[in-house]
């Protein structure tokens, strides 16, 4: 079985010999950031961090580790939500020095990039040539594209452009034994048997190391408009979404929602957050619309759609950003919500999805369910409602001790996830499994699916060196 004990000197020498200078970190202070989780809940452990600079170096590391049966945890920006990048012994393979843009081909609307490129840098590089890489999330200043692909990240443009998976044309992967698979094709069409790249996307580092990716680009954003609408209920938010989708179609770039409490806590805990309205409203919808062209008609059609919604009583009020600064300020409200409620107290988080049409039903039933179990619990349900993806977060009751609240986590998780499951939903919409949701995976995915997954794992990583302790419970892999 995989060795998670401190590595032997012989092993260390072999790794050092395989890499260029500065690639290895072995002192505890240097290792600390790689075993620390930003959530501050779990801790990892390892005695070596490697920072390869090329695919060939990654290949050498994996072949040595596979030979010695030493566990390898790939790590990108370490911004994940489920402790998937936290090593449980063995070594960390950080992608931070695999950060070149190998090719940016505007005519083919594609870029080939190494796994350790920071998402924001790639967005900027595409923007420089008038193109758009339509993947955007709160962690974009630190997360790596390799991490985004390994977790199949979603974010705020998913409603229009899909998840990270939908942006991939090809991958380069180093397999567990060190063999390099060059699947970096930039083809739009390629029906030649199993589409293997999709196995690695969302695999959370358990099958191999993604070293580079060919990504799709789109024409740049010519115009964007931002509207924040105030509404009565999540049901109305859904109605607004359905209606705008008919009226504006593909012009909708983002569609998010948050409740009154979300805004209140953001104003309480985060500097420079203003209430755009004078009054207090129960629910808000943040809508971003765009056109690839500089398009004065966009603003008109958006205004008209919202004006009709206002006349019909579907929305209670709305503000329209008149400048990029105002647009940024509206988005900052949405983006500061997780941080704001973390500052308010202990939280129990859920990242769930249900069919878009069932979101209101889920929210009503979910709220009743948790309030019955824990009177006084404060529900902050927010997020990517246009994708049916709700961050259904529970904030501790005001008069309850933190640890007594957190002790209820398993029970509350279970109740919420059972509800989601009964609605045909998913207990992890975009954050993945990592160490945090392994029991849920075993519980909610059918036996036949788990069997296929185990089969794939055994085939691609027979010695189980890739990120052990993630996705599967150790006993499930045997």
């Amino acid at each position: 079985m995989t060795d998670t004990n401190p590595p032997s000197e012989r092993f260390l020498d072999a790794i050092r010999g395989a890499l260029g200078p500065g690639a290895c970190i072995t002192d505890q202070a240097g290792i600390e950031p790689y075993v620390t989780e930003w959530r501050g809940i779990l801790r990892g452990r390892c005695s070596l961090v490697t920072r390869p600079t090329s695919t060939a170096e990654v290949s050498r590391i994996l072949s040595i580790c596979n030979e010695a049966r030493v566990a390898v945890t790939p790590q990108g920006g370490n911004t994940g939500m489920v402790a998937a990048a936290l090593p449980q012994g063995g070594i960390v393979l950080s992608t931070e020095r695999l950060n070149r843009i190998r090719e940016l081909d505007s005519d083919n609307a594609a870029m080939v990039v190494e796994a350790g490129c920071v998402l924001k840098d790639l967005q900027d590089a595409a923007g420089q040539v008038g193109q758009l890489l339509p993947l955007s999330l709160g962690a974009e200043g630190s997360c790596h594209i390799g991490g985004n692909l390994a977790t199949n990240a979603g974010g705020t443009m998913t409603v229009r452009f899909g998840n990270a998976r939908d942006l991939v044309l090809g991958l380069e992967v180093v397999l567990a034994g060190g063999e390099v698979w060059d699947g970096l094709r930039t083809l739009r069409k390629n029906n030649t048997g199993y589409d293997l790249k999709h196995l690695f996307i969302g695999s959370e580092g358990t099958l191999g190391v993604i070293t580079a990716a060919a990504l799709k680009l789109f024409p740049g954003l010519g115009s964007t408009e931002t509207v924040l609408a105030a509404l009565n209920t999540p049901d109305d938010v859904l109605k607004l979404f359905v209606r705008l989708r008919v009226q504006l179609g593909d012009d909708i770039l983002g569609f998010e929602t948050f409740p009154s409490l979300g805004l209140k806590l953001a104003r309480k805990h985060i500097p420079d957050i203003r209430d755009p309205f004078a009054g207090d409203y129960p629910q808000y919808a943040l809508v971003e619309a765009f056109s690839h062209r500089r398009d004065p008609v966009l603003r008109e059609s958006l205004n008209e759609a919202f004006a009709t919604a206002l006349d019909d009583g579907l929305i209670l009020d709305a503000v329209v950003a008149e400048s990029q600064a105002q647009s940024d300020a509206l988005w900052r409200i949405r983006e500061s919500i997780p941080e704001a409620h973390a500052k308010e107290g202990a939280t129990i988080r859920h990242d769930v999805s249900v069919p878009v049409s069932k979101v209101p039903q889920f929210l009503t039933a979910g709220k009743t369910l948790v309030e019955q179990r824990l009177p006084g619990v404060r529900v902050i349900a927010f997020g990517h409602i246009g994708d049916g993806n709700i961050h259904f977060n529970l904030l501790q009751p005001e008069d309850m001790a933190k640890d007594r609240f957190l002790a209820r986590m398993p029970e509350l998780n279970r109740a919420v996830h059972d509800l989601v499951d009964s609605l045909g939903g998913s207990f992890s919409a975009e954050h993945g499994i990592g160490m945090v949701k392994r029991e849920d995976l075993a519980r909610y995915r059918p036996a036949v699916e788990l069997r296929m997954m185990r089969g794939i794992k055994s085939l691609l990583d027979p010695n189980h060196i890739m990120n052990p302790g993630k996705l599967f419970l150790p006993e499930d892999l045997g």
Binding site: R294, F306, A307, D317, V319, Q324, A325
Partner: protein
């Protein structure tokens, strides 16, 4: 009281400005445009005065291409009552703008002109002062607080080293600084209402004034790219670099 508020359409504050290939100016094609942020503050102040019952009418005025109507509509949606577009495709300098504004003041007879202290595109910070000079009105530039009493306005302004309060006789010209207020978001119902508010267009030629530029731009170029910094290992090395490489000590 009647208030005139000039509003300028500029490249959005958050847009990274690019120089045109041919060096003739900055790229404005396909670039997001917004109201000059200081003008937004001026509009907001005028509206607050109206809401406090001190102003009867607010007239927003812009000078430029037909697209400047959008900027005026924003002012109307914020709460101004009517708009005037003085239409021209020519880029005016502060002197030209001030002359046009003087003409408008003559026609409209406002008691107060509130405008932004400067436009963020050329950063001239001249128009309010020139206008006050042309009109021979008192001026309060860089206002951070306004207090009105019988025919006067006390303007607290930000100056080097502190605050100064001037007491001006109306009519007067005031230019708004950042801290005067925080402009409101525009509400959708008000955008719809703004479409019905009057907006007159006057071709600039009709005013019969000389707005010919006094300055000609020879070339616009990007500032040289900054070269990256270096890390020094010791104080000795730092001193050495400052002395021998940077030659600043």
């Amino acid at each position: 009281m009647k208030i005139l508020v000039p509003v300028k359409r500029v490249i959005d504050y958050n847009v990274k400005v690019r120089v045109r290939q041919d060096g003739s100016g900055v790229e404005t094609v396909n670039v997001k445009m917004s109201m000059n942020p200081f003008d937004e503050i001026a509009v907001e102040e005028a509206i607050r005065l109206q809401e406090a019952g001190r102003a009867e009418e607010i007239v927003a005025i812009s000078i430029g291409a037909p697209q400047c109507q959008e900027t005026i509509r924003t002012a109307l949606a914020m709460g101004a009552d009517r708009g005037i577009l003085v239409e021209t495709e020519q880029d005016l300098e502060p002197l030209g703008v001030s002359k046009v504004l003087r003409e408008c003041v003559d026609r409209e007879s406002p008691d107060l002109v509130i405008m932004g202290k400067q436009a963020i595109d050329d950063d001239c910070n001249q128009t309010a002062q020139i206008l006050a000079g042309l009109l021979d009105w008192p001026q309060g530039a860089f206002a951070s607080t306004l207090k009105f009493s019988d025919g006067r306005v006390d303007v607290t302004r930000e100056i080097d080293g502190g605050l100064e309060t001037l007491s001006l006789l109306l009519p007067a010209v005031i230019s708004a600084d950042l801290r005067l207020n925080e402009p409101r978001y525009v509400k959708l119902p008000n955008i719809m209402k703004a479409k019905k508010k009057p907006l007159d267009t006057i071709p600039i030629e009709e005013l019969g004034i000389d707005v010919a530029p006094r300055v000609s731009t020879i070339k616009v170029e990007e500032p040289p790219a900054r070269s990256g910094g270096i890390m020094v290992a010791s104080v000795e090395e730092l001193v050495d670099k400052l002395k021998n490489d940077a030659k600043v000590i």
